[in-house]
């Protein structure tokens, strides 16, 4: 893969993304996504799961552009609610409230918003370039993987949830196992034998991942919000030319924070099981540590808005890298998109780059365009989006419930799925209250079939011996790395000083 072919492919991808249909789709996706991001209680993961049924009748390229645009929009939108309402619209914008809302209270909402959008834009722009040049060689390398390598990579992905996901490692491991176990419901992929269905014919097609995601993330979140009794009181804000000028003049001062946030965010995003939320917290923490005035953080320091927003967007882009090259989602939101691949009839993984040029490069090309389009939309339309939060909760909550039901039903057209959705909603509520991380469950559920297939094929290759994983160097390296990550929490526990765990990853 030489540089020229990357440029050629990129130009081709930009062409695909600029066709009127795809441009319209991107625009609609951005507006919807920003609205989803603004609304607390309706998250990016759930929003994309809800919109997935709408893509069934679209060509795959337009479908992925729609979902990706919704993701980018949601990343932008979360900041608006954080800054103006002091309530994070999304988990990844929690850190943005720390300094964003104080700034708004001091009468500078425009500065805070400009800072958030500009740094998001910069973090994303650099990450997209990194993405463009990292993805093709990675995919080419992964083409040489056999089943043992694939299994080892998947194991490494699950290990990162346990080792780096934050929160209780025992619970993260449990949730990974549960997700894999749920994916076995239906029928055996090798022998075609029905299994784990407890005698229910309806379960033979398996439990739909999207239905469970809608329940866990959508209804679970609604129950939590209902319990807290959400009341929104916001500060009116718009972005004027004065704000742009004032903020952009400050920008060069933050170059170190932006570079650090971008690299950190991109890397954390690439690691499966993490995503935008921990990236934003870590970037905020680092900016505070490196700052000459750490005492100003939390009281309306512009740098405290720049740091988490840069990292969150960089991580959002990074999370798509393992998804498109290896078929392993870097975050729950990416997992929902990956579930879409199967529905659109595509096999995620290294072969995608060879066989689906339009799809892959159309998506990459659209990233460049939606990032520019997105920042223009949010800068000009802040008051419109902020007005969404005037929708009273008494209307919003039932509306989300109705949309969730429509989304869940559309997947298989069966009423049983509505019950599964409701059950997952209750479970999601309990899981969240008892601090069981949802991300490992969701990602394991999507990757279950792939994992089982890779394991069983490896065992057949090795004629039943596990030695096959040891004799192949790439597989062995991944396995050792995975083992290290699995054992990391254990070692930390033995040393007796558990570092303060970051927020458990809920979405991203």
């Amino acid at each position: 893969m030489d540089l020229f072919s990357v440029f050629g492919n990129l130009l081709y991808g930009l062409g695909v993304a600029l066709t009127p249909t795809n441009l319209t789709v991107a625009f609609v996706g951005l507006i919807l996504g920003t609205a989803i991001g603004v609304l607390p209680g309706l998250g990016g993961t759930n929003g994309i799961a809800l919109l997935l049924p709408l893509t069934f009748n679209l060509p795959p390229t337009s479908a992925i552009i729609l979902l990706a645009s919704v993701y980018w929009g949601a990343l932008f939108g979360g900041a608006i609610t954080s800054i103006l309402f002091n309530i994070p619209g999304e988990p990844w914008s929690v850190a943005t409230t720390f300094d964003g809302h104080p700034l708004a209270q001091q009468g500078k909402p425009g500065i805070a918003l400009t800072a958030a959008f500009t740094s998001s834009f910069l973090g994303a722009a650099v990450s997209i370039v990194l993405f463009t040049f990292f993805a093709p060689p990675l995919a080419e390398w992964a083409l040489r993987f056999g089943p043992p390598e694939n299994f080892a990579v998947l194991l490494l992905a699950f290990a990162t949830f346990t080792g780096l996901g934050g929160g209780d490692p025992a619970k993260a491991l449990f949730m990974t196992g549960l997700g894999l176990l749920l994916s076995t419901v239906g029928f055996d992929i090798v022998s075609g034998q029905p299994r784990m269905n407890f005698g229910f014919v309806e379960l033979q097609s398996g439990v739909s991942f999207i239905v469970i995601a809608i329940g866990l993330f959508g209804l679970g979140e609604i129950f939590l919000t209902v319990e807290e009794g959400l009341r929104l009181r916001g500060i009116a804000g718009r972005v004027g030319f004065r704000d742009l000028w004032e903020m952009w003049r400050m920008l060069p001062r933050f170059w170190a924070t932006i570079v650090r946030g971008t690299i950190l965010g991109f890397w954390i995003g690439v690691l499966p099981g993490t995503g935008a939320t921990p990236a934003s917290f870590m970037s905020y923490g680092l900016a505070k540590q490196f700052s000459k005035h750490p005492e100003r953080f939390g009281k309306g320091e512009v740098e405290g808005v720049v740091a988490p927003e840069t990292a969150a967007h960089a991580a959002g882009i990074g999370a798509l890298l393992p998804m498109i090259t290896l078929g392993i989602p870097g975050s729950p939101t990416a997992a929902v998109m990956l579930a879409g691949f199967f529905i659109w009839g595509l096999n995620p993984g290294a072969l995608l780059f060879q066989t689906q040029r339009e799809f892959v490069w159309g998506l990459i090309g659209s990233m460049y365009i939606t990032n520019v389009l997105g920042v223009l939309i949010v800068l000009t339309m802040v008051p419109v989006f902020a007005a969404i939060n005037r929708i009273p909760f008494g209307v919003l909550a039932p509306l989300i419930v109705i949309l969730s039901s429509i989304g869940a039903f559309a997947v298989n057209n069966q009423v049983l799925d509505l019950w599964i959705m409701l059950g997952s909603g209750v479970l999601g509520y309990v899981f969240k209250k008892l601090k069981y991380p949802l991300a490992p469950l969701v990602v394991a559920l999507v990757l279950g079939d792939m994992t089982e297939q890779a394991l069983r094929q490896s065992l057949i290759m090795g004629q039943g011996s596990l030695l096959i994983f040891v004799t192949r160097p790439i597989a062995l390296t991944f396995l050792l790395a995975g083992l290290f990550l699995f054992l990391l929490p254990l070692v930390r526990g033995l040393r007796g000083r558990r570092p303060r765990a970051p927020e458990p990853v809920t979405a991203g």
């Binding site: 176990l181 090798v190 299994r195 609604i222 009794g229 209307v395 909550a397 039901s405 039903f409 069983r456």
Partner: protein
């Protein structure tokens, strides 16, 4: 909250045990086509059960907090939770008659009256217009067939 943690972990272990039993109905050993259909689910459910036991034991070893124990759900939060949840059960149970649109409209109206305490004019207006808008979006433009229920089918097609 401590007791809820233990109780839930216990529930998960029981669930995993049921999954083990279900997996044992399949061949779990080496067969003519390699590992049997039950191989993966069996070892996973064993692992999940084991992990559940660990969570259970750890939940028992958490010391009691000083002062008041935080309940899993605060007493005053039960009402809003049940107001959101129980009507959902009712609407899904009656989905064959109501369909998603009429069921949704009723749910919306009820929620606006009992939680939002909105004026009755806005209740009527919103709970009619919003489901109507959704109907147009999903049935007309995206051609996704939703359960319309006997009532709506009758109104639309006279059946």
């Amino acid at each position: 909250m401590r007791r809820a943690d233990t109780a839930f972990a216990l529930l998960l272990v029981v669930g995993a045990a049921i999954m083990i039993r279900e997996a044992l109905r399949l061949p779990i050993a080496w067969t003519a086509i390699g590992p049997g259909a039950g191989f993966f689910p069996f070892w996973l459910s064993v692992g999940v059960a084991f992990q559940g036991v660990i969570i259970l034991i750890r939940s028992l070893r958490v010391p009691a907090p000083p002062g008041r124990e935080v309940p899993f759900v605060e007493p005053e939060a039960w009402r809003p939770l049940l107001v959101a949840f129980l009507p959902m059960v009712a609407v899904i149970a009656a989905i064959n008659y109501l369909g998603i649109y009429i069921g949704g409209a009723l749910y919306l109206a009820g929620y606006m009256i009992f939680v939002g305490r909105h004026h009755w004019t806005s209740v009527i207006l919103i709970s009619i217009l919003l489901p109507l808008g959704l109907f147009l979006i999903f049935e007309r433009w995206f051609l996704l067939p939703m359960p319309k229920g006997l009532i709506l089918e009758h109104l639309l097609f006279g059946r």
